[in-house]
């Protein structure tokens, strides 16, 4: 599938990926993505209409571990690597309007 990757397309994709790119980053990234996607378009040459997708290379049934209670990491440890915490929770900027 041929795709025209514009700087505007890079900006909208970056927003989906939660990347705050600067304006001067958009055009060089668009050129790089265009080059990679041009190569990826070669996949169109292969007829895959009757081919199932491979999401996992091994034909395994999902296994369940034994239903035994086990202790996870404690709260203080879980919070220890966070940049900001408040009492017993991770702290984030306000995201719900009052």
């Amino acid at each position: 599938m041929a795709v025209d990757v514009s700087p505007e397309r890079v900006r909208s994709t970056a927003e989906l990926a939660r990347l705050a790119l600067r304006d001067d980053e958009l055009a060089p990234l668009a050129a790089k993505l265009q080059g990679i996607l041009a190569h990826v378009a070669e996949l169109d040459a292969w007829d895959t209409k009757a081919i199932p997708p491979t999401a996992h290379v091994l034909d395994l049934a999902m296994t369940l571990r034994d239903d035994v209670p086990a202790r996870g990491i404690d709260r203080a440890t879980a919070l220890s690597q966070a940049a900001r915490t408040e009492q017993y929770a991770f702290a984030v900027p306000r995201f719900v309007a009052e």
Partner: protein, 489 residues
């Protein structure tokens, strides 16, 4: 006392048990060598001298008490660990500004296994940021240099681990292999690197890049050392739902080159086409001739979907990466750049925390999963992956192993490819197909090319065939000899 840093891992526990030297003496020898010489290589992001010496002393204490080391197959063995494997209490950065100060509260499964086997973990090795790259130049901190020629890369992304083994800063090393990240640097530095079958080693505690492809993988100066490390880390782990419960077979390395007699070795012609350096082609052909003279049957065959591997990989791996790296949002761990609102904090954190290649791959993956494109790109690549896996299944109906070059070139100069993603991605063109098919593959040195740089031979086996693959690799190593250590030091 002889230079302990030339000692094989395989003989180390017995030598320590026999009192030839102590684990502490061995550890200090590697610490001293690393302190003196790693500043010119950059294999390690950090050396944990205190932790390493504590582990070594605990081995020595066992010996002093008269306790056996029999249950500790890696007793005193000095190991380097790629810095995308979690180590409790020891910073694990993935060579990213995003995790520059991250201290994991737990060990990766493979690291737990190392400690339980008596290993001495010397430190954490450099990599391309989040394992995305083929030269270790994408590290946010510094590039690693190849001990064979310090103006060249060691390959990547496990370039720090490969350089550590090649330079004898450690006896063996752990890396991770997603599309060739252990095999390609092993080839470029003259060491052995095994990518086990997908699911053979638990991914618990490995910082995720592409979860359907990532495999924790051992490296060593010899096949025997690599097999020793593999045996220590392979096996079931309930914390990774994709980790196999099958028993792990021990490799029988007693046959030497005799293992090659009557072996059917497939030589897929697609790996010997355009883009293969004459130097590499010549060394690999010489190795194949030697394998044939040792009694193997060489069978040329075709694997027609090989050339689709690069495009398939560069849809699937970035797609998975874009999802996996969504967790780095400044909330629970890692870098946080404050902003007025939550979205602003996410964006600024990820913009400042990730390097250029990581951003490129996140964008690529997000794009190929986005509405209107997901079926055309991601869906298509999943189907072509099936065709690539079928190529391997059909080949293994005719042959026992496949033999190919590991890398199309010898080690390339630092900076040569860093501005052109496609030329960098081509470094993995021979290692991507086995990753996509999930089958095990090992790179063994095939000697030095005319350039004086190491060339790797990749041997590929059917699913779960590590034991036989290692025996064959050992036979090839017995035949071709090891490339030895680089002379720079």
């Amino acid at each position: 006392m002889a230079d302990l840093t030339t000692l094989d891992a395989s003989s180390t526990p017995q030598r320590i048990a026999a009192g030839d030297f102590s684990a502490t003496e061995l550890c200090r020898a590697f610490l001293d060598r690393t302190a003196a010489l790693d500043p010119s290589i950059g294999a390690f992001l950090r050396v944990d001298a205190e932790g390493a010496l504590a582990s070594a002393r605990s081995i020595d204490a066992r010996v002093a008490r008269g306790d056996s080391l029999d249950g500790l197959p890696l007793a005193g063995v000095v190991v380097a660990v790629k810095d995308n494997l979690s180590t409790r209490g020891l910073r694990t950065t993935c060579a990213s500004r995003m995790l520059a100060d991250y201290v994991p509260p737990y060990d990766a499964h493979a690291v737990e296994r190392l400690r339980a086997a008596g290993a001495v973990i010397l430190g954490k090795t450099n990599l391309d940021e989040f394992a995305m790259g083929s030269s270790t130049e994408n590290s946010a901190f510094f590039p690693t240099r190849n001990p064979w020629d310090r103006a060249r890369t060691p390959g990547g992304s496990s370039g720090g681990s490969a350089a550590a083994v090649a330079a004898r800063f450690s006896q063996v090393a752990l890396g991770s292999d997603t599309g060739g990240s252990v095999r390609q640097p092993a080839a470029l530095t003259g060491v052995v690197g095994l990518k086990p079958t997908y699911g053979r080693v638990s991914r618990w505690g490995l910082v995720s890049f592409a979860s359907s492809l990532d495999v924790v993988s051992p490296m060593g100066a010899s096949v025997e050392d690599t097999a020793l490390l593999y045996a220590a880390i392979a096996g079931a782990d309930a914390r990774d739902a994709t980790c196999l419960r099958r028993p792990v077979e021990r490799a029988d390395l007693s046959l030497g080159p005799d293992v090659l007699r009557g072996l059917r070795v497939g030589v897929p012609r697609e790996y010997f086409g355009d883009g293969l350096d004459a130097d590499v082609a010549s060394r690999v052909r010489s190795a194949l001739d030697a394998i044939e003279r040792a009694g193997a049957e060489l069978i040329e065959l075709s694997m027609p979907h090989t050339r689709a591997s690069l495009a398939t990989y560069y849809v699937l791996a970035p797609a998975e990466a874009s999802s996996n790296l969504a967790r780095f949002d400044g909330v629970r761990y890692g870098l946080r750049v404050e902003a007025d609102d939550l979205r602003g904090m996410y964006g600024a954190t990820r913009d400042q925390g990730f390097g250029a290649e990581v951003k490129l791959r996140i964008l690529l993956g997000t794009f190929s999963l986005s509405a209107g494109y997901a079926e055309a790109f991601y869906g298509k690549a999943l189907r072509v992956r099936t065709l690539i896996a079928r190529d391997f299944a059909e080949a293994f109906a005719k042959v026992d192993v496949l033999a190919t070059p590991t890398s199309p070139t010898v080690a390339f100069p630092l900076g040569e490819r860093s501005g052109d993603p496609m030329s960098m991605y081509l470094a993995d063109v021979c290692t991507l197909p086995p990753s996509l098919a999930g089958v095990p593959a090992v790179s063994v040195p095939a000697g030095l090319g005319a350039s004086g740089l190491p060339v790797g031979l990749q041997l590929i086996g059917p699913l779960f065939s590590e034991a036989r693959l290692l025996a064959v690799a050992h036979g090839v190593e017995s035949l071709l000899g090891r490339v030895g250590a680089p002379s720079w030091s």
